[in-house]
Symmetry: C2
Subunit: 323 residues, 2 copies
């Protein structure tokens, strides 16, 4: 993979008008509480509400600029943010998107995909069913598969979040990013390596889905086993290509408990007044679980997204109204 | 009251380094849904999480720059955002703040006031008890009372939110602000009158606390009667000084139901990924309840604050974790 400065610049240039340059936010209260300076790169404000838009947009750009024949459609399987990203990126390019979703996917996410014009196909909630359905639709419709993380274009696309973070801040001691499939973390590591080599890159993971931690510490790829975390975006196993990059360029992987994740999430909602999903709280939870390590440091932290089901909360409020 | 351009500029100049210039946000999705362009002035990102910081800061500035003798302390009574604003503004100026709060005030708000160094005094939850306790503390400590809305300095301080909104956007057809005591709405009207006279200013109120609507339509000040709204910031009666300004400079007052308010609140949380309190959703709810009026227009809307108790929501998430 070409992760030279020049190529990372070219990647960013090719998508920057199609995505949002998300703001960097901070909180005096959180800095005081943790004894370090935390700069939050707010990808919850990205199109579709998550960083996944970057990778999907770059994949689409490469697809339309390098293939001789324009593809008829794209296809993916996902129950989460990648589904929305592919649907919107396809819509922006006038392509049809087929999205295979497990039949137990949250209604709010299914509606979001449909809202972006994606054609939803339901299947059994197993990886096997998802892949076989995707494969069938791909073959029947001449569609191109857009993978969620284990692909060069996706990793390069996700690398642009850290690039903006580095450009918009003074030199960072650390950059923290959550790790699920590893697209964001691998891209972040490549960017830091090219543009800010003194900055240490740390992957952050819930203990309940610690396959990246186990793989990193043992040096051998290990799959995610029956992960039971509220961080639905981080349940997936690390991609193989992603793992190679992470082993080479990431400095460490830290873990947090589910309780710490919820505490960090509530802290961000209350102090910063932004809506973030559980996965996005994992890096702050890892700081809270390793305070000494970050004391006095300047830390960039990627808030990966802000998509979650708020229905229950608003039902509660509605009950208060009626009572 | 001197509401000339020059004086409003002077007011803004005197506090601008002490407050945040909050961002203006927008959402393609919301614009499409409503058929108009909505520009959200996000005072939920203001210090203490609400526009109240502006008025308290300006009052404090005038207090310290016009009184011959430096006051020993300040005092107010409030269960809400004004309490936090006075506590923080006092802290920033090295003054002691006494805050009288009803004993049933939400714990999260009491803790916030204490966090800003305010000395909390509890009293019975009636206006009479609040005022008599405040009066006693004021006399005993030589403290200066900082009123929540019915005062020239407070109105002028709140006027700076709309001033920034006007400066940071193209000409607006409308500016919408919620109305409780009327500090924000009166300040907004004075600002629009001075800096953008073609812009119509609309006050927005829940039907369940419609004293400003009733007063405006009848031309006679009418108190709030047993208001039962989730918009806790808007339960209070309109100030007398505020009412005079509103009658003269505000174009109309619109109302929304509690259900519409919650729908608007959920829409903002989900689409914009920002945490706003119920009161702050009232203007968008009023657009949703009066779509024809705003069709094709450019509308500035002041998001008044983002302080609410999130404990129940995080309890729900924690239950999911344990299950």
């Amino acid at each position: 993979m070409n992760s030279s400065k020049a190529n990372l610049e070219k990647v960013h240039e090719s998508i920057k008008d199609l995505i949002h340059r998300t703001p960097i936010m901070r909180s005096d209260g959180i800095d005081e509480l943790l004894g370090c300076e935390v700069l939050f790169k707010c990808e919850n404000f990205q199109k579709i509400g998550a960083f996944k838009m970057r990778g999907a947009t770059y994949f689409m750009h490469e697809l339309l600029n390098t293939e001789i024949e324009r593809p008829k459609a794209v296809v993916t399987h996902s129950s989460g943010n990648h589904a929305q990203a592919v649907a919107l990126a396809a819509k922006m390019n006038g392509l049809k998107a087929y999205i295979v979703m497990p039949k137990d996917a949250p209604k709010v996410k299914v509606e979001a995909v449909k809202g972006y014009g994606g054609e939803v196909h339901f299947c059994e909630p197993t990886l096997e069913a998802r892949e076989s359905n995707m494969e069938r639709i791909r073959a029947e419709n001449g569609a191109v598969f857009i993978p969620p993380f284990d692909h060069e274009h996706i990793i390069l696309g996700q690398s642009t979040a850290a690039k903006e973070l580095i450009e918009d801040t003074d030199e960072l001691d650390y950059i923290l990013a959550p790790v699920g499939g590893g697209g964001l973390l691998a891209g972040t590591a490549l960017t830091a390596n090219a543009f800010s080599p003194k900055t240490k890159v740390i992957g952050c993971e819930p203990e309940m889905a610690d396959d990246a931690y186990q793989s990193f510490k043992s040096g051998k790829w290990q799959p995610s086993k029956n992960p039971k975390t509220l961080a639905d975006g981080l349940k997936t196993s690390l991609g193989k290509l992603n793992f190679d990059i992470i082993l080479e360029h990431v400095n460490d992987i830290l873990c947090c408990s589910e309780k710490q994740m919820l505490e960090a999430m509530q802290l961000i909602w209350e102090r910063m007044k932004i809506v973030i999903e559980p996965s996005a709280a994992v890096p702050l939870a890892c700081i809270m679980a390793n305070r000494e390590m970050f004391k006095g440091k300047r830390v960039g932290l990627i808030i990966s997204g802000g998509n979650l089901d708020l229905g229950d909360f608003f039902k509660l409020l509605d009950q208060k109204r009626s009572s």
